[in-house]
């Protein structure tokens, strides 16, 4: 579904990604770990189409299409979703209206009929119950005045409503108390599906107690330094990222590259 080959990206002339290779197939859950500044969020933003990053080398194929040539909205239409590390506040636009506009944009792009306000409200309320979002947040302006936990839950909620094929969660677990973390993790588990892939970017091993990944990767210094199964995360928890530093190969070899 997603193939990243030798991806180099930089912002303001500074290299942040220095040759990332990654292959994600449908049905899989990948955890991407790494210390601060390793390039995790940059990778997420580049995949979602943020234009402040300049891709200098490499390619990204999504269902065989050149992802890097697509606009952010085209990526969304094709089923890509990123849960933001820092969700943006949008004053004056209600969460409900925003999400209906988003869902209808996806439906329109896919040739499906748009939903009217009543039909959408029904779906929105049902998903809010399922995914632990306080219904009162639906009528409030997008993320405005939300607590940190509410913002993250709102991201997972949006993901649930928009039903992406490839979901990238950028440190959605950071800064959450254990109850909020469980709600977010349950949301991710509920969205696991044979046709859907999930890239879970995280700084901490803790979330992986609730979401069991098929693969774990360690991003270090702009490259995937290690790949393995869920045990890699446990090992990392014991040893710390310093362990990776000594182990980083010159040029990591990953299946498909």
């Amino acid at each position: 579904m997603l193939t990243i080959k030798n991806l180099h990206a930089r912002a303001e002339g500074k290299g942040i990604l220095r040759g990332v290779d990654l292959e994600i197939r449908k049905g899989e859950v990948h955890a991407l770990m790494g210390p601060n500044g390793s390039g995790k969020s940059t990778l997420a933003q580049v995949l979602a189409g943020r234009d402040v990053y300049e891709v200098s080398q490499g390619e990204v194929l999504y269902d065989g299409r050149n992802l890097l040539e697509m606009t952010p909205e085209e990526r969304a239409h094709a089923g890509l979703f990123m849960a933001f590390q820092y969700p943006v506040e949008i004053p004056g636009v209600s969460n409900l209206y925003f999400l209906r506009s988003a869902l209808n944009s996806l439906r329109k792009a896919r040739g499906q009929p748009e939903l009217d306000a009543m039909d959408f409200l029904h779906i929105a309320k049902q998903k809010a119950r399922e995914f632990g979002l306080d219904e009162s947040l639906l009528k409030r302006s997008v993320n405005q005045g939300f607590s940190g936990g509410e913002k993250k839950r709102n991201e997972v909620y949006q993901m649930a409503v928009l039903e992406p094929r490839l979901a990238i969660l950028d440190e959605t677990d950071s800064g959450l108390d254990i109850d909020a973390l469980k709600i977010v993790a349950n949301g991710v588990n509920a969205l696991r599906h044979p046709d859907r892939a999930i890239l879970l970017i995280t700084h901490y091993q803790r979330v992986l107690n609730y979401v069991t990944p098929d693969y774990v990767h360690v991003l270090y210094n702009g490259r995937i330094a290690r790949s393995g199964d869920k045990n890699l995360a446990l090992h990392l928890e014991e040893q710390g990222y310093a362990w990776v530093e000594g182990q980083a190969p010159e040029r990591p070899q990953v299946a498909g590259s």
């Binding site: 979602a48 943020r50 606009t71 952010p72 909205e73 969304a76 004053p91 004056g92 988003a102 949006q158």
Partner: protein, 449 residues
Amino acid sequence: MATTATRHDLFLSHFARQRPQFPGGGQAWLDRLRQEAIERFAEAGFPTTRLENWKFTNVLPLTRTAFQPAAPKLDGLTREKLGRLPLGRLDAARLVFVNGRFAAELSSFEGLPKGARVGSLAAALEEGNARLEEHLGRYAAYQPPDRAFVALNTAFLNDGAFLEIPQGALLEKPIHLVFVSVSEAQPVFSQPRNLILVGAGAQVALLETYLGLGDGPYFTNAVTEIVAAENTIVDHYKFQLESEDAFHVATLQARQARDARFTSHNVSLGGRLVRNDVNVVLDGEGSESALNGLFVARGRQHVDNHTLADHAKPHCTSHELYQGVLDGSAAGVFNGAIIVRANAQKTDAIQHNKNLLLSEGATINTKPQLEIFADDVRCTHGATVGQLDPDALFYLRSRGLPYPAARNLLIRGFAQTILERMKVEALRVELEELLFARLSGSQRFGEGR
């Protein structure tokens, strides 16, 4: 200067020619009012940018145009056609003015309380209504040189709405004053004049809309005086939806007695050159004003908003928020004056102006102007100028909204602060539609991607 002087003369000669036909002529007070006003206009001429209050608004394009008086005709306008115009189906009592003249056949008076007087100013002038002598022209000052447009309107006193809301009346439906300019072969002007007297304890919502049908330039010069007696609640809405070839100059002058609450929602979407003056005098203890403004301009539109909250008595409150959205090469002006007179202790005055610039070529000049002569007051002001937040744009696009929709949603969010202050829901909903049709309707309103 020669050009300006010529156009100034043009209006003087229009005055001389039209004077015999002005309604209510022969009443000494009215003849004197018109005479004084035309003399002030003759002395001052049209304002130039040398006047502080006109520094950023050059009216030369207006004064260069050879305007003729608009003919009193309906030009095929019917109730059906009117119903299709913006706000044409608003559930309200409706007074329609075409080219500045009252059109009884297009108006309706449902839902008005007993004892209310709602009708044409010209008719009231003709019948010699005593309330007019007492109030007309007493509030909207025409004497200072920078009030030449008010002087011009006052000299040409002719038609508009005269409303008298009786004491204690609670109006459930708004009163809608519709000013339509119909097309003419040559540029024409009309000068609506409204006088609105609200009796003690009454509650009323008023809407003025200004519209233009057809092509080519025309000039609307409107003055509205509102007298809000003790303990009244008056919500005033003005929607300026003139054609983009139009010149629109308007003054709203409100006087508030004790405990009167007055709200102005001043929305400006149309016009080529627009100047709005909104002046309130808080002339009784405990009175409160809310001044809300939304101006949206694109292309080469120029929109100037001057407001004045004059705190003449203690314990009064004025809260003001004006928001501008400027695209293309549009120019916006906001000048917010607050005067606190020496005895107006415990004044609470807040003023904000927020602006969104959507293009490199758009400009805004914003200025607060505080004159405070009392010592126990709270006055704050602030102005911001910003662009669309790129993070918010990306956030919306990453959820699937195409660039134009994402952009319009952010502009909508920006305008929402003003919209949600509008208590008449039907009005707010229709304004939202107008605004968003305008935002998405034209290529010129945004460069796309």
